[in-house]
Symmetry: C2
Subunit: 272 residues, 2 copies
Amino acid sequence: LLKELEGQVIQTAVIAGAGNVAWHLGNHLFKSGISILQVFNRSVHAGQELAQCLKAPFTNKTEEVIKNADLYLLAVSDDALEVVSEQFRFPGEYIVLHTAGAVSMQIFEGKAENYGVLYPLQTLSRNKPVDFNTIPLLIEANSSKNLEIIRQLACRLSECVYEMNSENRMFLHLAAVIGSNFTNHLLSMSERIMTDRGLPFNLLRPLILETVEKAFSITPQQAQTGPAVRGNKRVIQRHMALLESYPQIRELYSLLSESIFNMADNKRGLPK
Amino acid sequence: LLKELEGQVIQTAVIAGAGNVAWHLGNHLFKSGISILQVFNRSVHAGQELAQCLKAPFTNKTEEVIKNADLYLLAVSDDALEVVSEQFRFPGEYIVLHTAGAVSMQIFEGKAENYGVLYPLQTLSRNKPVDFNTIPLLIEANSSKNLEIIRQLACRLSECVYEMNSENRMFLHLAAVIGSNFTNHLLSMSERIMTDRGLPFNLLRPLILETVEKAFSITPQQAQTGPAVRGNKRVIQRHMALLESYPQIRELYSLLSESIFNMADNKRGLPK
């Protein structure tokens, strides 16, 4: 297979998008030796900035998109993907990839010959460097040959490359939203309570990092502690009283405590 | 003041309790050079194990408790504290401390002359070593002299020693329950979804650790990402469909998404 792939290794790319994912993936492709032939982006300012960084020309016009790249990386928002994937269809041998966790690969069906997905499972902010090498990259392709080409590309970026189909990736994305976005929201509530009392939120940092480490070193079910899992109604009631002026946090406190208690009480694992 | 405290530095201690907090605090007191005169615990097995580890005698009888220690550390459950604090009252100069986040220092009122709180803000499991030196220790005392004695003791255990009164500690404990226990519960849901699809939960580890790091390096409000904060109804609806066979997770998904959206929409910070 490797022999067959010779000459089909990706060497040049066009990047569509200039957001956080485009920024990080573009830069890591560039550093790994891929020539970025062009950056395409609707908004000029962000696109030009990324293009400059990648030593590539910039365009915001679909008709100016360079046609002979090996790879078209569509690192745009889920909503833009529908439109952009329509715009990037021309004759020739190339692979087109999107980078979205929650969008099926089938968005490319009938629009391209060779296509797939390269989803980096990490929260990326343009200005915050991350160790890309440890970011799980979930890949998918419309043929085993394309899968190997994408795998080769992905392995140049990260040590953690996994094949995953669109349906599983959708569940993974859901699990990531719950574990990451919702966790961050809990931290917002926590921070609000601390700040309102004039207490430094940073005090909680060692606790919360250790909580996450522990959940992954045993299992979160085994790691569950606190008043709710012990059914400590006295503490729960005291907390509910402290939350009197935070009705929305109070409601979530009550529901999450109930959910934790049910899980422990049932001894049947997590609530269905 | 330091001069005044001379001769009042804590050198000997009796530990009540043999749970996770007693285990960690006992061992770190011992390592820091405090002589543990005795371990008291209702249940013999756990108590004897800790006593052996601390090279101390063990008792489970209140009347056998050694009377001449400098410190009585009541590292027992919130509920046991009421009873145990009654049992540890004898004439003499000594300090009695509890280690509970959610219990007021006033539990000692009328029971002891010199008392306070030493609350380690960390999730402690007996079998999991932690870097105690970075654990925030929240201290409180019923007099400034006692506070200094407790501070000296706490500084032998950790670099992060903060004075905090009972009311603030209660809010801190609430913020810790939300940020730690509830976060762990979200991770349980996440794990459940992954495991049910045969996906390795560990894939989410880099994402979730980075999420926490980011929340503390900027603020969680600034760090909020995901479909809910963007008001991406399409993705939310797809997730809700995927959760059809998880009604309890589905309900929490819906409420947390709403709460995140409201926070972003209002531009007035977190929902009250």
